[in-house]
């Protein structure tokens, strides 16, 4: 491997982040507890630095690094920008929350940033091993983050569950990858695609491997029937970590599915399409139906995530440029909504009080009208009511599958989203139509007030003018897949 084929410039954001995280890790060892704002600021600087490098290096043409193991293309760049924003907002929102719970220290920052690094690698990997390494870096950081409050029983339990099932999923994925490697003799996704297209690889072996890969993906995305860990982990984790798990990794997961299925195995599209249809329909159905029965806000949002991931898969399984772009748009929009939604949950929590029951939202319109309205925007957007951006995400996805002729699938999807509307409406009902149980005013720091408001209003503003983001998704997918 020559230095030229390394082409480190393409991976500059990742390299910068790696150095920055290491610096944060070291500096944090030498400062006192009351000076954690220093490492917090440094973490934000690390994020901004990565963002600047990503924007500066942006080009529609894919830039390959590490001799074809890594690529910085438009799709990964756009997704990375979304991840920086999500992680940055997560750190900002969780400041007060973490400080109240003795979590406001280096571990939170460094683990979050390492998770981010893992996601970035996932988004840019073009080799089965790189993909796997990125995924594991993300997963291991998240397991540790979930277990951050050591004395909390639910958190430890959640971490355990997450770890065991996550390891199982990784094993499945790895096994599937080994089958693909056995069939094609390569780990490079383009080489695999070429080999599959040539028709010389054993089809039985390929499909056998594909089943395990899709199972692994199903676990990681939390698709039914591999969703069992999602509600438990969402509920047990500290809300700040739930926010992280629920937002940015979805963007990475989208890229992960794109690389594995669309770029490496387009020759098996007919096979994975069928599998994804099952996963998507079950996720949308079960996710929405079971969410109704939840009394815990975090569990409800967990089931809502499951159904949203089903919708995202609908876009991918369409197998068209429009479909992939719709899936990407859906992932980004979902990340925005999830950050905002969990942000409001964080806002309601105080020292010694974990807001996580639906009943904690009662009468929010009287306690804090502004945030009640903001949360209303997010809820209606998640329910897919126009003119909020969640509607356009659903529209894009449904349009892609109707184009394919799968009208029945579209009808099933919209009917289950009707079921979904019910529990989002219930949240609005609790906020606006019930009397508050706990009438203590909500203390919000000014930086959080501004950021959260912008975050929620983005749901409305993007809904009023979704075009540029839609075009951006379309163009970046088009250039990244080389479909000109």
């Amino acid at each position: 491997m020559t230095l030229a084929s390394l082409n480190l410039v393409a991976a500059l954001p990742e390299i910068w982040l790696l150095f920055a995280v290491s610096a944060v890790l070291l500096i944090d060892l030498f400062i006192k507890d009351e000076q954690r704002d220093v490492t917090y600021t440094l973490s934000l600087i690390a994020l901004v630095g990565s963002a600047v490098l990503t924007v500066q290096g942006f080009s529609w043409m894919p830039r390959v690094a590490f001799a074809g193991m890594f690529v910085a293309d438009a799709m990964s760049d756009v997704l990375k920008l979304g991840m920086y924003a999500a992680v940055g907002l997560m750190l900002a929102y969780s400041r007060a929350y973490a400080a109240d719970r003795q979590m406001y220290r280096g571990e939170l920052f460094t683990l979050s940033l390492f998770a981010l690094l893992g996601m970035m690698v996932m988004a840019s990997a073009t080799n089965l091993l790189t993909l796997y390494v990125g995924l594991e870096l993300l997963s291991l950081s998240l397991y540790a983050l979930v277990a951050l409050p050591r004395d909390s029983k639910p958190a430890t339990e959640a971490a355990m569950k997450y770890f065991v099932l996550g390891a199982l999923a990784s094993g499945m994925l790895l096994y599937g990858m080994s089958m693909i490697y056995g069939a094609t003799g390569s780990l490079d996704i383009h080489a695999i695609a070429a080999k599959v297209a040539s028709g010389t690889a054993s089809r039985t072996l390929l499909v056998f491997g594909l089943v395990f890969i899709v199972t692994g993906i199903g676990f990681k995305l939390g698709n039914v029937p591999f969703h069992m860990w999602v509600p438990d982990v969402y509920q047990g984790s500290p809300t700040a970590v739930t926010l992280l798990i629920g937002s940015a990794p979805k963007l990475a997961a989208f890229a992960f599915v794109m690389r594995l299925l669309v770029q490496a195995l387009p020759g098996l599209m007919a096979d994975w399409q069928g599998m994804l249809i099952v996963l998507a329909v079950l996720s949308i159905g079960v996710g929405n139906l079971v969410a109704i029965a939840q009394t815990n806000l975090k569990r409800m949002l967990a089931y809502s995530t499951i159904s949203h991931m089903g919708f995202m898969l609908l876009g991918i399984l369409a197998g068209t440029l429009q479909g992939y772009a719709a899936g990407m748009f859906y992932a980004i929009v979902y990340a925005i909504m999830a950050v905002a939604g969990f942000g409001v949950v964080l806002l309601l929590s105080r020292a010694g009080f974990e807001a996580e029951r639906l009943a904690d939202l009662k009468g929010l319109a009287q306690r804090s009208p502004w945030f009640a309205w903001m949360f209303l925007l997010v809820m209606f957007s998640m329910a897919g009511i126009p003119v909020f951006v969640g509607f356009f995400a659903k529209l894009a996805v449904i349009q892609a599958i109707v184009d394919l002729g799968l009208v029945w699938l579209a009808v099933v999807a919209v009917l289950f989203s009707l079921v979904g509307a019910f529990y989002y409406l219930r949240v609005v009902k609790l906020m606006f139509m019930d009397e508050p149980v706990d009438s203590s005013p909500i203390a919000v720091k000014p930086d959080m007030r501004v950021l959260l408001s912008i975050n929620c209003l983005a749901v409305l503003v993007l809904g009023l003018m979704p075009d540029s983001l839609l075009q951006l998704c379309f163009e970046s997918i088009r250039h990244s897949l080389g479909m000109l």
């Binding site: 009511i385 126009p386 894009a396 184009d403 009917l415 009902k429 139509m433 839609l470």
Partner: protein
Amino acid sequence: MSEHLLSLAIWVPIVAGLIVLATGGDSRAAWARLIALLGAGLGFLVTIPLYTQFTLLHGGMQFVEKMPWIPAFNINYHLGVDGLSMFFVILNAFTTLLVVVAGWEVIQKRVAQYMAAFLIMSGLINGAFAAMDAMLFYVFFEAMLVPLYLIVGVWGGQNRVYAAVKLFLYTLMGSLLLLVTFIYLYFHAGKTFEIAEFQHVLLPLSVQGFMMIAFFFAFAVKVPMFPVHTWLPDAHVEAPTGGSMVLAAITLKLGAYGFLRFALPIVPDAAREWGWIIIGLSLVAVVYIGLVALVQTDMKKLVAYSSISHMGFVTLGFFMFTDGAPTTYGVEGALVQMISHGFVSAAMFFCIGVMYDRVHSRNIADYGGVANTMPTFAAFFLLFAMANSGLPATSGFVGEFMVIIGAVKVNFWYAFAAATTLIFGAAYTLWMYKRVIFGEVANEHVAELNDVNLREFTVLVILAVTVLGMGLYPQAFTEKMHASVDTLIMQVKHSKLP
């Protein structure tokens, strides 16, 4: 200015609503009321030129505005009105003004949010009536549910939350199927959401049948038609007076308008083939729901059921086909009935609201002899009750009469069944009127009643003038419709089978 009239009709109320919302808590309620009144007034003023500058020369779209909104999906911000929709924009702005006045003193809790919800909803409804792009229509059509949900759920009566959720989910169910239909048509019309293009798509009968089902669910729920009408009595009863007025006067019309704008011209063959089902359901609504209204003990419920019965006339008028198309009398009669019902039902709900504000009861049994303590009010209420039962010289008569004439042309028995409404309508309305207004003073609540104040009097006079005016000179309305109705009938005549 005049080329942006429709945009103004949509955005003036919405912007006013946002300003009202910004006034915040109830400590500045007076400001909220004043700004809401100004916004609603201005919103009404900008719709007046729609009537005065409306040309009778052609049946196409007027006041057209078009610019791209979401080029990625080829969705355009395309507005326009014709003789079918123009009146509803004005009616809506007019009703909003009345609602603001009606809620002036009555609403004391979260005033700014109440007024803002109505203003924003008014703008969204105008958008739905003026949209020439199916997806734009859908966005307005759905977005409207958000303020409506809050209005019923926050300011409604005892069982308000149940009613609000039912209202929301019923209407959402219908519209989601509509969404799939629109997307299907998008691909068959050459990747465009233009309604005008949808009307030229050739579709086999089976596909038209499925679309008819989707349209039926989307619009029949809003109208509402039997048997998907059950949300309406709940929503009406629990809604605040203003909410009931807007629901009855405007949102129900949106369903009927949907049939006219989408179902008839896009799937005419399905309408020909299965129109008899809709006729049957409409007649059930007219006769059976009329009887149901008769036995109600709650005044609001009674008027709600009477609304369903009256809307049965509207759908009846749309779907009575001769020579492969609806009759001019039928369609125009139905449109007149829609406008008239907008005034009359708003007036009826306002009258009930006047009594409710004083006695806090909607039960007929809690009243009696109101005429003794509120003579002025009783006189107005009588006029509206007469209009509701279709007395000649009031607006209620014109539409019903025209639809019945249309029905006679098609099938005598349709006309016969429809005409029974003149009996049932009179029976349930006047019987209620008798029990509430006449007789001895029933209890001390009624004895303590004060007659209408200036604010209420103004609203009543305005409504009375319009109801009488429309009854005496319906030409002012029908002449604007002719050209567009003829265009529509030509379109329906034209088969869309490939």
